[in-house]
């Protein structure tokens, strides 16, 4: 997405996230939600 150095926000995490393809972002968020549920039910 925003890989232009001019778009840098000053936060490495935000810059790395915005540079990701939207499909990867969705995959990461979705798997994160499922992982949170797996952890939640294991506790």
């Amino acid at each position: 997405m925003a890989s232009d150095p001019d778009d840098a926000t000053g936060s490495a995490a935000v810059d790395r996230w915005t540079a990701l393809d939207r499909g990867w972002q969705a995959l990461a968020l979705g798997l994160g939600v499922v992982a949170a549920h797996l952890v939640g039910q294991a506790l």
Partner: protein, 332 residues
């Protein structure tokens, strides 16, 4: 940390608008029996977008709607009964490949032969109508090194049909008395962009929504192959390299997440309560995405679309949806 705070601040107004629309849609649908919240979410978006419009300050946040849609689809994997889809899978896959391949050729012939539309606009329209709507127009436009004006023109035509089919398909499905599975597969192979396909499916029934989304994902996964085919066909003017790199570049990565979640959910690792909770998160993300989808439908922009591309895409849509309807009634 200031970068993170700034990013949140930039997106907050638009996210607030999406959340406000989604909450309003849930309340309205809860008060009116038979009304689907996701349909109301699209309607609210269209209403707001075409009356007061989206304030400039809200645009970055509203632009996150497609991420919500794709994340909602990843989580929809948890609601999918893999066994049921595997049973119908080969039939649906064969239908998808046949409709995309036949549809592409038909759209090219109709656009060039009947409506005298030159390339690359004919190819942009064919890709948009046959694979995955506006994202296919943009991807194939990049492969063919098309002018920005050609891409905008083709994308506006596809968006016009997205808006019309979003309303027309569920009505036609009711009139034809299709089952949820038949309607989902029919909408999944015939309609254009992913958001409207999912919205039309869920407007029909939850089962239809799942089938529509899964069928559409199968269709989207062909984008890489079609991009390679176009770059080979237009080899002399192609600005892009064909091959595995392009196949992978155009492959919708969130589809992998959908498959992983479907496998995890079907192995029994998640409790029924966890599956229900994931379903609620998916529904909420769809509601946010569909408010954004409605906000992106601009009636004024659609008036500017020319008669020839509308005619070409209409002929394609009628032919493909008629063939697909006969096929789903016969096969499913």
């Amino acid at each position: 940390m200031t970068g993170t705070a700034e990013a949140v601040r930039t997106h907050l107004p638009g996210l607030g608008l999406l959340v406000g629309g989604a909450v309003a849609a849930t309340l309205v649908a809860g008060a009116v029996p038979g009304l689907q919240p996701l349909v109301v979410a699209v309607a609210i978006g269209v209403g707001v977008g075409n009356t007061v419009g989206v304030p400039e300050v809200a645009e970055p946040g509203v632009g996150v709607d497609k991420l919500f849609l794709e994340t909602g689809i990843v989580l929809l994997g948890a609601a999918v009964a893999v066994e049921e889809f595997l049973t119908a899978g080969p039939t649906v896959l064969a239908l998808v490949v046949g409709v995309v391949g036949g549809g592409l050729l038909f759209a090219e012939v109709a656009a060039r032969g009947l409506f005298r539309i030159g390339s690359p606009t004919s190819s942009l329209l064919a890709a948009g109508a046959s694979i995955c709507g506006v994202s296919a127009v943009v991807a194939i436009g990049r492969v063919l090194d098309a002018r920005g004006a050609d891409i905008t023109f083709a994308a506006a035509t596809i968006l016009l049909f997205d808006a019309v089919t979003l309303v027309a398909f569920p009505l036609a499905g009711e009139w034809l008395g299709l089952t949820g599975r038949q309607f989902g597969v029919w909408a999944g192979v015939s309609m254009f962009s992913t958001g409207p396909v999912a919205a039309a499916g869920f407007a029909y029934s939850p089962e239809a929504g799942q089938w529509a989304t899964v069928t559409k994902l199968a269709r989207n996964s062909l984008l890489g192959g079609v991009a390679v085919a176009y770059s080979l066909a237009y080899a002399a003017r192609s600005a892009a390299d064909p091959g595995v790199r392009r196949l992978w570049a155009e492959f919708p990565k969130f589809l992998l997440g959908f498959l992983v979640v479907a496998v995890v959910a079907n192995t029994g690792l998640l409790s029924p309560a966890a599956l229900a909770s994931i379903g609620r998160v998916s529904d909420a993300l769809f509601a946010l995405a569909f408010v954004g989808l409605g906000l992106s439908i601009r009636i004024d922009d659609m008036r500017a679309v020319g008669a020839a591309p509308v005619g070409a895409v209409l002929v394609h849509l009628l032919a493909v949806s008629a063939v697909a309807l006969a096929a789903v009634r016969w096969l499913l």
